[in-house]
């Protein structure tokens, strides 16, 4: 197996504002199954970062263990990555963020990694409003260990082995809302037009941003009985709102009709425009979001889109009042109180 991609670049490949071609955002060749939803999400991440003019090395990509958690190898080759242990990406991301508040933290996880073994860490990363984008590549099963039901598998869905899942699935969007996450969205790996803008909006958001992406496992969970299969998702998707991400510098208002748009200013000054569906959707109302979600669930629909955002939320650093400089950039002079102070402190112990 080869991990080395041909480095040849077309000279006329278009570059973005920071001078990178789209291929500069790619990773090594994926070893996932052909057609795996996770690969589409990797593609959306590449697209979003390229379009957002992010310098790739300013991104730190982190993951747990699983097919999904392998993907950071398949995007953003110029970013440092941390493939941690199963279910523990959130704590590693928390520490990384504590050390350097200036990077963009992109965490990728699976539904097994997040909703089973990682549930505790997931909940607490939300509670701390850690400034990161947390993408769950949600296929309702454990891909890498050969297709066992995960905790997000819906009750009644049938796995490849023919067994019917008897337990209620956990809705990560519902949980995140209940826990007060400041950016909560859901999308579908096959829907780049929705997913790419959501990723962009989430990357601009200051605070914890969850995108729960339904991402069918073609090998183990793409049979008609499964509610996380392509066909099922395609049939049951209910888009909440279309979202157009507009960077501050170059606002476009053309494509959105007056009256059907809510502009939400994100923390970095950029604006997310939401094209609402009939019900006049305002993603800034958490209680309404919870109700809307329950309603869709009751109707058997999967709500996608930006369900909730609180652009005013305080991230962990604001809460714990840490220095504005990245802590990892501080030097001895900044940190070590020195011998004289120590002599003074000794005195307090006599």
């Amino acid at each position: 197996m080869t991990y080395i991609k041909p480095k040849f670049r077309h000279p006329e490949m278009p570059k973005n504002r920071v001078g990178y071609a789209k291929s500069d955002y790619e990773g090594v060749i994926s070893t996932l199954c052909a057609g795996c939803g996770h690969d589409s999400i990797s593609g959306a991440i590449v697209q979003a970062c390229y379009e957002m003019d992010i310098e790739p090395h300013r991104v730190a990509k982190l993951s747990g263990i699983g097919c999904s958690s392998k993907t950071p190898n398949y995007f953003l080759n110029n970013s440092h990555g941390f493939n941690s242990v199963h279910g523990r990406m959130p704590s590693v991301a928390t520490g990384a963020n504590m050390a350097n508040r200036d990077l963009i933290y992109l965490g990728v996880s699976g539904d097994g990694d997040t909703a089973s073994i990682g549930m505790g860490q997931f909940v607490h990363a939300i509670r701390r409003n850690l400034n990161m984008l947390y993408i769950v590549m949600n296929n309702g099963c454990y891909g890498l260990t050969k297709g066992q039901d995960s905790a997000t598998a819906d009750a009644g869905s049938v796995s490849k082995s023919g067994s019917v899942n008897p337990f209620e699935g956990i809705d990560l969007v519902g949980m995140a809302l209940e826990l007060g996450a400041s950016f909560v969205a859901r999308s579908f790996s096959g829907d780049k037009t929705q997913l790419v803008p959501l990723i962009k909006a989430a990357l601009s958001h200051s605070g914890f941003a969850l995108i729960d992406v339904l991402s069918p496992c073609v090998t183990f969970n793409n049979n008609p009985g499964s509610t996380k299969s392509y066909d099922y998702v395609r049939d049951h998707i209910e888009a909440l709102a279309q979202i157009g991400y507009v960077p501050e510098k170059e606002e476009i208002t053309v494509s959105y009709e007056e009256g059907s748009t809510v502009g939400v200013e994100l923390h970095d000054g950029s604006v997310v425009h939401l094209q609402k569906l009939a019900d006049g959707w305002d993603p800034r109302d958490r209680q309404a979001a919870m109700r809307r979600l329950q309603q869709a669930k009751a109707e058997g629909e999967i709500l996608t889109g930006l369900v909730y955002v609180n652009p005013e939320s305080k991230d962990l650093h604001e809460v714990i009042k840490s220095d504005l400089r990245p802590l990892n950039s501080l030097k001895e002079e900044d940190l070590c109180p020195g011998a004289n102070t120590l002599e003074m402190l000794n005195e307090e112990f006599r």
């Binding site: 991990y3 500069d24 790739p56 090395h57 300013r58 730190a60 982190l62 950071p72 190898n73 080759n77 110029n78 970013s79 440092h80 990555g81 941390f82 493939n83 941690s84 242990v85 523990r88 959130p90 704590s91 590693v92 991301a93 928390t94 520490g95 990384a96 963020n97 504590m98 050390a99 350097n100 200036d102 990077l103 505790g120 860490q121 909940v123 607490h124 701390r128 962990l316 650093h317 714990i320 009042k321 840490s322 220095d323 504005l324 802590l327 990892n328 501080l330 001895e332 900044d334 940190l335 070590c336 109180p337 020195g338 011998a339 102070t341 120590l342 402190l345 000794n346 112990f349 006599r350």
Partner: protein, 607 residues
């Protein structure tokens, strides 16, 4: 009746109810003796609950400077009827029993061979104070005063300590002094004082300080430049992180903005605490966590990741009584084996083992240097006795010319230079032949030096590989790194310039206090000379092996059941186990010199 007499050589034990503020009064008592220039040490023997259960506080005064626990109580201050029976039984024949004689003592509590000194503590309090809380707190000061009079403690010193204690609430100084003086007065009026058992001013403590190991570790982490701490509360390590937070907040907060050059997060559990440390270390900050046994058990998986992915991490294990939840408020040295080989697969971890608060401070600074130099977890092994009890210690020192060793980290310039030379960056390449590769930090360079940190098998370029031979090469390099560690970790301490005996003894950590005293006793009273070595780190420096080689018989003293340190010695140094004789204590109380001496004499007698 016999009355114990001694000057500056006594053990006073306080029997209190926890949650009554007694610990701080007892501490004032100990500090008074310290300020009179006499070596003193204190042990707080507290229950694993919050209020209402028996708690003891034991103060040893030793002109000779012996700072370990000593068996036998010379004077017992009984403020807890719950435990009175066993307290009375614990007093040495001829010793003193201070009790509250507001009510009469039942005859079951009368021993013929000890001296009873009644102080009507409650009576005085009832007379002087209205408020229940006041009565409680001032009762403590009354017995402090009584003791001062009985033991001849200088009252000015006690008053000075009260003044310091209430510096921030000066209104409380006067009433506390008064309460204390009530105790003094009662003794002076009712007893012949001082006793034959008493203290006398000396000049034996020099510039020493009195500090607990957790505070010293916390301060050490501040001086070492730690900026990130993730932690989870657990006795007896909680106060370590609290000390770190206190001093970091005090010394690193911008007075104008209120912003802090530190990030401390209480994690949801110990798994997360160590995860935070790894994330932060990976990102180039100095980060640490502190916990005790149960936390270390939970940290296994992440420790294995850190070992294999070669991520610096500093972890302090303030050991308590195991196994399982065990004895949370008692001391042991029983996590050694777990810490040394934590996690599945072939792993070995660097341990530093301080034995005094001063060394706690120093080893914390070293731990961060070593973790970054070696790119691996460094575990500082202390224990409840060291961490939570006050110890007479050399003052903390910092050399302003000392520079943090940030280890092998390529900068953007380095990466450019490397490619200018046509070389490729390899995260796990053994460039220098010492087993330590170079790392890069996130965001170092726009196009060079990025890699995917992983706990899966990898080659020298951090690429995933299922080629087992390549992976074995990585495992072998880790052994080379392990060899490198042997030379840069703290060296053992020897207590003789040249070996004088064919018998040796090895000890470490808080056992040191008792071990040194035991060696004196053996020499003075049994005419047995034993060469001594104090171990301070794992892996072992070659001098550890040499010391053991140089002796026919080596006692290994440790505070656990399974002689875990001895296991490390035989396993890592290929020593014949027959040569290493176990001297153990694992009842949760700090080992005593008498216990060591008894066991050594016993072994030597049977040979």
């Amino acid at each position: 009746m016999q009355q114990l007499t001694a000057i500056n050589d006594l053990v006073v034990r306080f029997a209190n109810v926890n949650g009554t503020g007694s610990a701080s009064a007892n501490n004032m008592f100990a500090m008074s003796i310290f300020r009179m220039g006499i070596p003193v040490t204190a042990k707080n023997i507290f229950p694993s609950n919050i209020q209402g259960l028996p708690t003891w506080y034991e103060v040893r005064v030793s002109e000779k400077g012996y700072l370990g626990r000593r068996e036998g109580v010379d004077l017992l201050v009984c403020v807890n009827p719950q435990s009175m029976k066993q307290d009375i039984a614990s007093v040495k024949s001829g010793g003193y029993f201070i009790y509250d004689n507001t009510k009469n003592l039942h005859k079951d509590f009368i021993r013929e061979d000890i001296n009873y000194i009644g102080i009507p503590m409650i009576g005085i309090c009832m007379r002087l104070y209205q408020d229940a809380r006041q009565r409680q707190l001032f009762k403590n000061m009354i017995y402090v005063g009584a003791l001062a009079a009985l033991l001849d403690i200088e009252l000015e010193v006690v008053k000075g300590i009260i003044a310091d204690e209430f510096k921030k609430k000066p209104k409380l100084i006067e009433p506390n002094v008064q309460a204390m003086m009530e105790g003094v007065k009662y003794v002076q009026e009712n007893y012949e004082s001082p006793l034959g058992l008493r203290v006398e001013r000396r000049d034996l403590v020099g510039d020493s300080i009195v500090i607990d190991g957790n505070t010293a570790c916390g301060l050490g982490a501040v001086y070492a430049g730690a900026t990130v701490a993730g932690w989870y509360p657990i006795t007896p390590s909680t106060s370590l992180v609290e000390a770190f937070a206190k001093y970091a907040n005090r010394l690193r907060t911008d007075p104008e903005t209120g912003l802090k050059k530190v990030a401390i997060v209480q994690a949801e559990d110990e798994l997360a605490a160590l995860g935070m440390v790894l994330g932060a270390s990976w990102n180039g900050a100095r980060a640490f966590t502190a916990t005790s046994g149960p936390g270390v058990s939970l940290m296994n998986e992440f420790l294995g990741l850190a070992y294999f992915a070669e991520i610096p991490a500093v972890l302090v294990d303030v050991q308590r009584g195991g196994p399982s939840t065990g004895m949370p408020t008692r001391t042991q040295q029983s996590d050694l084996l777990l810490a040394a080989y934590a996690s599945h697969g072939d792993t070995k971890h660097v341990l530093l083992i301080p034995s005094t608060p001063t060394e706690c401070f120093n080893f914390m600074a070293d731990a961060f240097d070593l973790a970054e130099r070696l790119q691996t977890p460094v575990i500082v092994m202390t224990d409840l006795d060291l961490g939570m009890n006050d110890h007479l210690s050399a003052p903390l020192k910092w050399d302003d010319s000392r520079r943090y060793d940030r280890g092998k980290v390529y900068t953007a310039q380095d990466l450019d230079a490397l490619s200018a030379m046509g070389k490729q960056f390899g995260r796990y390449l053994d460039v220098d032949g010492d087993g330590i590769p170079y790392r890069t930090l996130p965001a170092t360079h726009p196009t060079k030096g990025s890699f995917f940190t992983r706990g899966t098998s990898h080659d020298e370029y951090a690429r995933y590989t299922e080629d087992g031979v390549k992976n074995a090469e990585v495992l072998n390099r880790l052994l080379k790194k392990w060899d490198t560690a042997k030379d840069i970790t703290p060296k053992p301490e020897f207590y003789q310039t040249a070996n004088q005996s064919n018998i040796g003894v090895v000890f470490f950590g808080t056992t040191t206090y008792a071990a040194l005293e035991a060696l004196d006793l053996l020499k003075q009273e049994e005419d047995i000379v034993i060469d001594a070595m104090r171990a301070t780190a794992f892996p072992f420096h070659e001098s550890v092996e040499q010391f053991i080689e140089a002796h026919d018989q080596v006692f290994v003293i440790e505070q656990n059941r399974d002689a875990q340190f001895r296991t490390l010695l035989i396993n890592e140094l290929e020593i014949n186990p027959k040569k290493l004789i176990k001297i153990l204590n694992y009842d949760g109380m700090p080992i005593t010199a008498e216990a060591i001496r008894r066991q050594i004499v016993g072994v030597l007698a049977t040979v």
